[in-house]
Symmetry: C2
Subunit: 110 residues, 2 copies
Amino acid sequence: MKRKSFADMDCPIARALELVGDWWTPLILREVVLIGTKNFQDLENNLGIAPAVLSSRLSVLVDNGLLERKRYSEHPERFEYLPTTAANDFRNVLDELRYWGTKWTSSPER
Amino acid sequence: MKRKSFADMDCPIARALELVGDWWTPLILREVVLIGTKNFQDLENNLGIAPAVLSSRLSVLVDNGLLERKRYSEHPERFEYLPTTAANDFRNVLDELRYWGTKWTSSPER
């Protein structure tokens, strides 16, 4: 199903969601911004996300200026993902989400 | 495609997203919490959302304790949607999203 785009809406909340509102994307930002996870394998392991989905979300985040993709090894060629200033600024949203989730959702039973 | 659930994750951000992370849901909360929109027709018009999607999102929000569905007319039978305390608490997340969107996205050209 093609989803309606929020990019051209007049509301900054809608436009923010166009960039960060995909399922998984806020959790990827949590990893990169709050925890400092940088490479694909660690993101995949920490999130338990399918590699194809992770790959697609990372590309969108790079295209939208939230992550920078940087080569850190030539043989074998490997890349890491670093937060831009825009991504680091998203920390406040993540903090409020964490606060809300702590207050209004229950931890899984042990 | 069946989406992975975040409900049982240990992270409160993930659990928050399970409740409010669907496409459209934060904008429905923006309407109800920040603007005070209460009825289906106004939500549909203000958001430009397909009625079937709106209906499904509202049901989930009611089931998850974020909205209360209240009958305000008997003939014809009509309902309005009121924010619960949990929804009103979500205002801080919306405020941070608005702040971020204002800073990092551009208004559509006129």
